[in-house]
């Protein structure tokens, strides 16, 4: 067992945390939130320059050769600042799929630009009827000459509002929920027949629904094994789970601290509300929830490279359940202890609460993963 950070990892952590603290003061964040794009291109450029967009990619792919631990470090710090730039959809999901399964040509075409901050990716897997079931896919890709014609609808694609290229999951074989017959395709935003309806999400981030109407792609657009995309998709999504769980830990830690500090200054009945034992014990329970979430985020992150897929999936499900439960408790209590102030848009607490709520939804909520865990036990 070794749970300590290397020197480089510690430097990265300090660096990203400083960014979250300094560049993401609450008023700055509100300004970014109100902007048309919903993120700050200058920040994105900075991420590229500092190597953050490439740290988790292999050196052969133009990255710095890090991995899940580095991604977790960045995401946790981004959670602390509620950073709005689309790191998760680009680096972890879209870029992650490419790194795991792309052939040389595919990687070369996209990863260097992604790492340089010049192009943006997103992963389009969920559908209206699929909820969290990764195998449930109605989008069809029919073989057509040397290529495929893809038609269907993709739901709530994180970062899809900004993406230049989509990794689209479609069915090349089998019926709607068959475990074989899924394939992943690289589809440029400009593809004919692709309609992207971008929107903001309730936590201030961005997403899109995609309509694919006979979108034609070449055979070279197939990412990973034809018909065997489910295992790849599951792996990418497990990376996504670990990443947002780290994000949640950062957000929860700040939110708990914020609540404790608020309770020391807010006075009612002639004394700080932090003097009331009921609130004290609830803040202790928040603290414990954060500690357990931190342990499980680590547990999940360190299981990503586990070779046995069942063991990996079970571990990531356990992680997601814990984070969902912790985030619910921490978020709800933080709002409650802040009282009316916790309800306003003017204080950070509500923004953390909303992001934590949507983190539970992402990639399957606690209930969903509790069942997946049971099924894998």
């Amino acid at each position: 067992m070794d749970l300590s950070l290397s020197e480089e990892q510690q430097l990265l952590k300090d660096q990203v945390e400083r960014f979250a603290r300094e560049a993401y003061a609450f008023e700055t964040r509100r300004r970014v939130l109100r902007s048309e794009a919903g993120f700050e291109p200058a920040h994105w450029k900075q991420f590229a320059e500092l190597g953050w967009l490439g740290v988790a990619f292999a050196e052969a792919d133009g990255g710095l050769g890090g991995g899940p631990v580095e991604t977790g470090i960045i995401m946790e710090a981004f959670g602390r600042g509620l950073v709005l730039e689309p790191f998760l959809p680009n680096v972890v999901l879209g870029g992650g799929a490419l790194a795991l399964a792309g052939d040389d040509a595919q990687k070369k075409a996209l990863l260097p630009d992604l790492i340089a901050g010049k192009t943006k990716l997103a992963l389009a897997y969920a559908e209206r009827q699929s909820r969290y079931d990764l195998a449930d896919c109605l989008t069809q890709a029919a073989a057509d000459g040397g290529g495929f014609v893809v038609s269907g609808h993709k739901a709530v694609v994180y970062g899809g509002n900004l993406a230049d290229h989509f990794v689209v999951v479609a069915r090349t074989k089998g019926n709607q929920r068959a475990k074989t017959g899924l394939s992943l395709f690289l589809v440029p935003r400009t593809a004919k027949g692709l309609t992207v309806r971008g929107y903001r999400t309730v936590d201030g981030l961005g997403a899109a629904d995609l309509a694919l109407d006979k979108v034609r792609v070449e055979k070279s657009a197939v990412l990973g094994p034809l018909d065997g995309g489910l295992a790849l998709l599951e792996r990418v999504v497990d990376h996504g789970i670990a990443a947002i769980c780290s994000e949640a830990v950062g957000a929860m830690a700040v939110l708990t601290d914020m609540t404790v500090q608020y309770s020391k200054t807010r006075k009612q009945f002639g004394r700080p509300i932090g003097g009331f034992q009921v609130l004290q014990h609830r803040m202790v329970d928040m603290t414990i929830a954060v500690e357990e979430a931190r342990s499980m985020a680590l547990y999940g992150t360190l299981h990503l490279d586990e070779r046995n897929a069942k063991t990996r999936k079970r571990a990531l499900s356990a992680t997601k359940v814990q984070i969902g439960r912790s985030a619910r408790l921490v978020g709800q209590e933080a709002v409650q202890i802040h009282g009316g102030m916790g309800m306003t848009d003017e204080l950070a607490v509500g923004h953390y609460f909303k992001r934590l709520t949507m983190i539970d939804v992402a990639f399957g909520n606690a209930d969903w993963h509790q069942r997946r865990f049971a099924d894998l036990s």
Partner: protein, 398 residues
């Protein structure tokens, strides 16, 4: 002992149902069902209809123009209105300040204000909370100084729901800063058009702007708009809070939300089956339904005691705690039911007249904002912590 409605209660229920059938337009019903916002005019129109049918101000005594319904009848009325997705009533006039005026007000105040409340001619809002006094209401600082026939009021009220529509505000103000906290407070009625009254909306985390700051800057209030005695306002304020809490269980509304949840669970799919067939969801739903039954029959048991002439005690506080927990639980289950489609933020979809294509199912757009918004219910009207403090002190004697 039996649980059936009596013949007269059944007749009353039939009367309410008939009224709703004849007076509740389908488009308003659809809006309320979907959690969309109603405008001022729509709310007022509905209140006027209710009043014309003798179903508004249900608790008001006959001498002040109310129907003086009995507790169980009020329960039947509330439930029928809620189950039929009728517009929420604005409580500040009819439920809050009205009873204070007819109980403690002067004859002139009764003559002037009560008919206009009944007829929804005046829209009232509540000036209780201040930035520094939330749960600790009695620490309020807004100052009123007597100058001849007027009080001159300076201070700030906050969390004032729907103040943007209001004609009048009832305010707690401090008239004797030297007295003990609860003894120097006076209850004033203030015309919102008085110079010096400014309303600033507060945007809440769900994106709504229903609550406001109300600034009072050298506002001149005629002494005749003081309710009861100077420095006795705390008595009237407490009377009002107890009245308010009794309604907060909102069992009918929660029953309506439960139905809505079941409807959504028929549309949503999980693991290839309807959500309503999912074992885990079914068990969660059963748990919540049983909790709602317990809340309903606890309220009914209390109402039966009121009907039998018993004075209310701890009951209102218990109903406030459990009722708001129920509202929050349901809002959470509703949001969970739509999976990923809790994400899209479409504030305009909640407004009147939006008719673009929804993102995902049309019922999804309001659910995450509603969940966020309902967190308020365990904070307002005396937070649930305050309710427990009260129960601990006055019921358990601790």
């Amino acid at each position: 002992m039996h649980l059936n409605l009596t013949r007269s209660q059944r007749a009353f229920q039939a009367r309410v149902r008939k009224f709703v059938d004849e007076n509740h337009p389908p488009e308003i019903r659809a809006k309320v069902e979907s959690g969309l916002k109603l405008g001022r005019a729509e709310t007022i129109a509905w209140q006027k209809k209710l009043h014309a049918a003798g179903l508004y101000a249900p608790a008001w005594p006959k001498q002040w123009g109310g129907p003086a319904l009995k507790p169980i009848e009020r329960y039947v009325l509330d439930r029928e209105l809620a189950l039929n997705s009728t517009p929420a009533l604005v409580p500040f006039g009819v439920t809050m300040v009205g009873p204070v005026i007819y109980t403690f007000g002067s004859q002139a105040q009764k003559d002037r204000f009560l008919p206009r409340i009944l007829n929804s001619d005046d829209w009232w809002c509540q000036g209780y909370s201040e930035p520094g006094s939330g749960s600790d209401l009695a620490s309020l600082k807004t100052r009123a100084v007597r100058e001849g026939d007027h009080y001159v009021v300076n201070g700030q009220k906050t969390w004032t729901t729907l103040a943007q529509y209001a004609d009048w505000i009832f305010c707690l103000v401090r008239t004797d800063p030297a007295a003990k906290q609860q003894e120097g407070i006076t209850f004033l009625l203030i015309d919102m058009k008085t110079p010096g009254v400014t309303v600033r909306p507060i945007v809440t985390m769900d994106g709504g702007a229903e609550i406001n700051d109300v600034f009072l800057d050298n506002v001149k209030v005629p002494v005749e708009n003081r309710v009861g005695e100077e420095n006795q306002g705390w008595t009237y304020a407490k009377f009002l809070l107890v009245n308010e809490r009794f309604g907060t269980a909102q069992v009918g509304r929660s029953q309506r939300q439960m139905l809505r949840l079941k409807q959504i669970a028929q549309s949503e799919i999980v693991g290839g089956r309807k959500l309503e067939e999912d074992e885990n969801f079914r068990l969660k739903l059963a748990k919540t339904e049983i909790e709602l039954l317990a809340l309903e029959y606890t309220e009914l048991r209390y109402l039966a005691q009121l009907d039998a002439g018993k004075q209310p005690g701890a009951e209102a506080n218990i109903l406030k705690i459990r009722g708001t927990q129920m509202q929050q639980n349901l809002s959470e289950l509703l949001m969970e039911a739509v999976g990923y489609y809790a994400n899209p933020s479409l504030p305009k979809a909640l407004e009147h007249g939006w008719n673009e294509e929804p993102i995902g199912p049309a019922y999804a757009a309001s659910l995450a904002p509603a969940y966020f918004n309902w967190r308020k219910s365990s904070i307002y009207g005396g937070s649930n912590e305050i309710q427990r403090n009260i129960l601990s002190k006055f019921v358990l004697g601790l």
